[in-house]
Symmetry: C2
Subunit: 226 residues, 2 copies
């Protein structure tokens, strides 16, 4: 079965790619250059896709800085730093990018229909302290309806399914799953800050580091501050 | 009230822009350069946006030729020519672009949330002989759910509404509405063929010409073949 896998180059989506492979899918990765602050992640996406041996890898480019509205697409907005996991969980953070997953899933859907894939894998996680509205199960269910009603493939026959293997896992469980699947953590990239070395203090670094620490494992990435 | 208006430069979306103005909205137009065969329509979108006096106009660029899958994004697929309206109504045509409206609405949603707009106007039409799955009311309803659940604005307060003023109108009724609103037809562009002069024989030209003819009106565009 053909599957499109949304691959940011981060920890979660890399695990999802390896899970899709383990599920027996021929994998078609898709990544997005949206002029994100941390475009460095695309280098990781390309490396991971190669390591995983995908059938194809599309990088789609567009510019979400045109209207900004997020710390990830507007350099004038400061990234949150050194927040505790509790602080992260309280509100929708300024790193929320308006409609990002909807845009990503839309391109994933287009790619899937063009190549005749039956699944689109996505590494969203509802327990991730992120508070992002477009990572929650009810949102995914709404997008599934769009996948079915908004395509020729969905109207005429077998539709395209959204698969979210991580949605109810804790970060520690995601890392354990990745270890079982052989995900090369050293190739992944989670930091939001936009440097060539992971900062260690943005929400994304902190969440990752906390999970590795909780498991008593070493994160092989090098960090500026740990 | 701020409104984002999806503006292709075609007849329908131009009427919708003028309708949004008539509804009292401050209009923010958004158009898409997706490497469509008929990129000529963008010139019309820019002209119409200026004539209508929008507050801003964003043109978002990405490349749907990366995977093709449509006569509008793959030059190796021939456009249907000289089809009757009955022939057009029978199947989903090869000019269907996988997930196009889902992609367009996703960007419209992102733009709307970034600028704090409460509406996204879209010129879809369910009676248009097009057969496109992503022009039907049940699809729009599914996208509305995504708009509500997939955004901070939808989760925390007043959501963003999709407005489709043309969805149940016939093409002749759309033209009559545009006449009342003063839409400058000579600036619009409907032809799919990709030339500098409208072909007159693609589905889009035929549908437009038939509607002007039925009303006993002259379409001010120049056509290669009528």
């Amino acid at each position: 079965m053909k599957a499109v896998v949304l691959l940011s180059g981060g920890l979660d989506s890399s695990v999802v790619l390896y899970q899709a492979k383990a599920d027996g899918c021929q994998c078609y990765a898709i990544s997005f250059d949206y002029q994100q602050r941390h475009r460095r992640e695309l280098k990781s996406a390309i490396a991971i896709a190669q390591r995983a041996g995908v059938n194809d890898h599309q990088v789609v480019s567009f510019d979400l800085r045109q209207w900004g509205g997020s710390a990830l697409t507007d350099d004038r907005i400061d990234l949150p730093r050194e927040r505790s996991l509790e602080q992260m969980s309280q509100t929708i953070p300024i790193t929320y990018v308006p409609a990002r997953n909807t845009i990503f899933l839309s391109f994933g859907l287009a790619y899937a229909e063009a190549i005749g894939a039956q699944r689109v894998y996505l590494g969203v996680n509802a327990l991730d302290y992120s508070g992002y509205p477009d990572c929650r199960p009810d949102y995914i269910q709404a997008m599934q309806e769009v996948f079915t009603l908004g395509t020729k493939q969905g109207r005429e026959g077998q539709g395209i399914q959204i698969v979210t293997p991580l949605i109810q896992l804790k970060k520690t469980e995601i890392i354990e799953l990745g270890n079982r699947l052989g995900v090369p953590w050293e190739e992944t990239w989670s930091c939001y800050a936009g440097g060539d070395v992971a900062c260690g203090v943005c929400d994304s670094c902190r969440l990752r580091l906390a999970a590795f620490a909780e498991l008593g494992l070493r994160d092989p990435l090098h960090y500026e501050v740990v």
